[in-house]
């Protein structure tokens, strides 16, 4: 095995590890993860500190173990049938932990994947709200934004798809009962909402990124603690899993450069 030093660790490695941390402490819940870093994060967690996590094949099955990215379907070991109709049973039961992507995310944790601009005639129609409204009021949800900028981190999203803290509170106890926006992970850092008024806080910066970089790339005022740690590096085991097992072709480094 080749020896590694901290300088060999790529930004995408930090992102994958930050995504894995989303699942720390989870027992038997269904991990769903969109994007390359989240897909790797769920697998890393499953293979290390969250061994009871339940992964999907991205189609209609739960799979044993943690298959590498792009693993041929014939190599998968199925645990259970999970067609979409049953996925909703899981969503509504709360036994799910999800990392979605966000075209826009705002200060109180609203996410938008629906449309940019006015509703009746949007500047850009995106994919649609999908399951975001239901996911966010039923189970833990985090977000992955691989292109952190003032266009993606905005004061107020155009169409609230995933529900943030202020909107859930305004909607009442049925909306807040199971609402838990855990982390936002971007290509620059990690964020949460562990503030008294539930607004976004900087948790850690990925090595090579400064707090000023993040402030400049964010379209609203972040809560920034006096001391902001670096995002933790992968352990030797995690790095080996990423490089040799889960993503030997380095797809993660194409999603996030630097």
């Amino acid at each position: 095995m080749t020896s590694t030093t901290a300088t060999d660790i790529t930004r995408a490695d930090y992102c994958a590890v930050a995504c894995a941390e989303v699942f720390r402490g989870d027992g038997e819940v269904m991990a769903s993860a969109f994007g390359t870093a989240p897909a790797l994060g769920a697998r890393l967690a499953r293979l290390t500190f969250a061994p009871d996590l339940v992964l999907t094949d991205g189609d209609a099955a739960l799979v044993d173990g943690a298959p590498p990215l792009g693993a041929p379907p014939a190599s998968l070991v199925f645990e259970s049938h999970m067609p979409y109709r049953r996925v909703f049973d899981v969503v509504w039961s709360g036994r799910r932990n999800l990392i979605m992507m966000a075209s826009q995310i705002d200060r109180t944790g609203n996410q938008n994947i629906s449309a940019i601009g006015p509703w009746d005639q949007p500047k850009a129609q995106l994919v649609g709200v999908r399951g975001a409204p239901g996911n966010t009021v039923n189970h833990t949800t985090s977000y992955w934004v691989p292109n952190h900028s003032t266009r993606s981190f905005v004061e107020q999203v155009d169409v609230v798809s995933g529900v943030g803290y202020a909107r859930a509170a305004a909607a009442g106890p049925s909306a807040t009962k199971f609402h838990d926006i855990r982390f936002v992970i971007s290509n620059l850092g990690v964020f949460d909402f562990a503030t008294p008024d539930r607004v976004m806080r900087l948790v850690s910066v990925h090595p090579g990124v400064s707090v000023d970089d993040i402030v400049a790339a964010t379209g609203f005022e972040l809560v920034i603690p006096d001391m902001v740690p670096d995002t933790r590096p992968p352990t030797a085991e995690e790095l080996a899993l990423l490089r040799d097992v889960l993503d030997p072709r380095g797809m993660r480094d194409r999603e996030v450069t630097a």
Partner: protein, 303 residues
């Protein structure tokens, strides 16, 4: 047992402009595309289309058939969005009822169960409730007193789905891993159509797969239409996967009015048999172009 076999022409003739039509499948997977193409060739217009949206919604928008779309998403799966649907929304050409995809499921389920709504937490706090001002909440009559979204029944004038196998009496078999919500589209509809890759004898269904694959009962169908390749270019596993090359051609053509006119003339202004022949030829052309490019690259390398 009644013989429910019918044709795409009779299917279209049974519809009328202004109807609400449900389309089975999910994204760019097992869409009843032959039925959609038959609608494209008709003079039907002003439709409300209810769909886990894929190229069915895009094509119907491109042809000006859609007054309103009811959906949770419109995607081509391997390509995130459909260009024609995007264009229709961005020009304000269609009315949109965009809801959470779980709410959509409950809307079909409510219609299937003949109840006016079903309660759900999904939608609370989101803009689904503001961009659809007709949506209401309901308070639990029990001690919890919870206030939940009352997802209204999505009642359909007609629905059409596509399956792998069916018999003449209207039992259907889905051999792929996910039956999606096809059963509920039929349950929610007044006129219920099922297109199929192949019509087989009833006793052959069990030979094709386990009992769970025989998930569409004849209680849910009025008409069965044999349309081999009828989900093309969407996926219809295990019979065939998505035609990614053709889907790319569809998206590329959408970006240019002349290219789109040529696409329509070659693939959509023709009947189903000619569509199947033309898309087969297009696949051959793409394969030949790829081989030629590879050969050119190889000779360049050798030089």
């Amino acid at each position: 047992m009644a013989d429910k076999r019918t044709t795409l022409d009779e299917f279209v003739a049974s519809l009328s402009s202004g109807m609400t039509i449900g389309i089975g499948g999910w994204g760019s997977r097992r869409k009843p595309m032959a039925a959609v193409r038959a609608i494209l060739r008709s003079d039907l217009t002003d439709l409300t289309v209810v769909s886990y949206g894929g190229p069915d919604v895009g094509l119907l928008c491109a042809a000006g058939k859609v007054a309103k779309a009811v959906y949770g998403f419109v995607t081509l799966d391997s390509i995130p969005t459909d260009p024609h649907f995007k264009a229709a929304r961005q020009s304000g050409a269609i009315e949109a009822m965009e809801v959470d995809e779980g709410m959509f499921y409950l809307g079909l389920l409510a219609a299937s169960q003949r109840v006016p709504f079903l309660p759900t937490r999904s939608g609370l706090g989101s803009d689904v409730m503001t961009v659809n001002p007709s949506l209401r909440t309901v308070r639990s009559p029990y001690d919890d007193g919870e206030e939940l979204v009352a997802m209204p029944a999505l009642r359909l004038d007609a629905a059409v789905i596509h399956v792998n196998r069916a018999d003449v009496a209207g039992s259907g078999q889905i051999l792929g891993p996910d039956p999606f919500f096809d059963e509920l589209f039929l349950g929610a509809a007044d006129r219920r159509f099922m297109t199929t890759e192949r019509i087989v004898a009833t006793e052959e269904l069990a030979a094709g797969g386990p009992i769970q694959t025989m998930c569409i009962s004849r209680l849910l169908t009025d008409g069965v239409i044999e349309t081999p390749g009828g989900a093309h270019f969407t996926a219809c596993v295990p019979d065939y996967g998505r035609d990614e090359g053709f889907q790319k051609e569809y998206v590329a053509a959408a970006g240019d009015p002349d290219a789109w006119a040529a696409f329509v003339e070659r693939f959509l202004a023709v009947d189903e048999a000619d569509y199947q022949a033309a898309t087969g030829e297009a696949a051959d052309e793409r394969a030949a172009a790829k081989a030629a490019a590879k050969a050119a690259a190889a000779s360049k390398e050798g030089a």
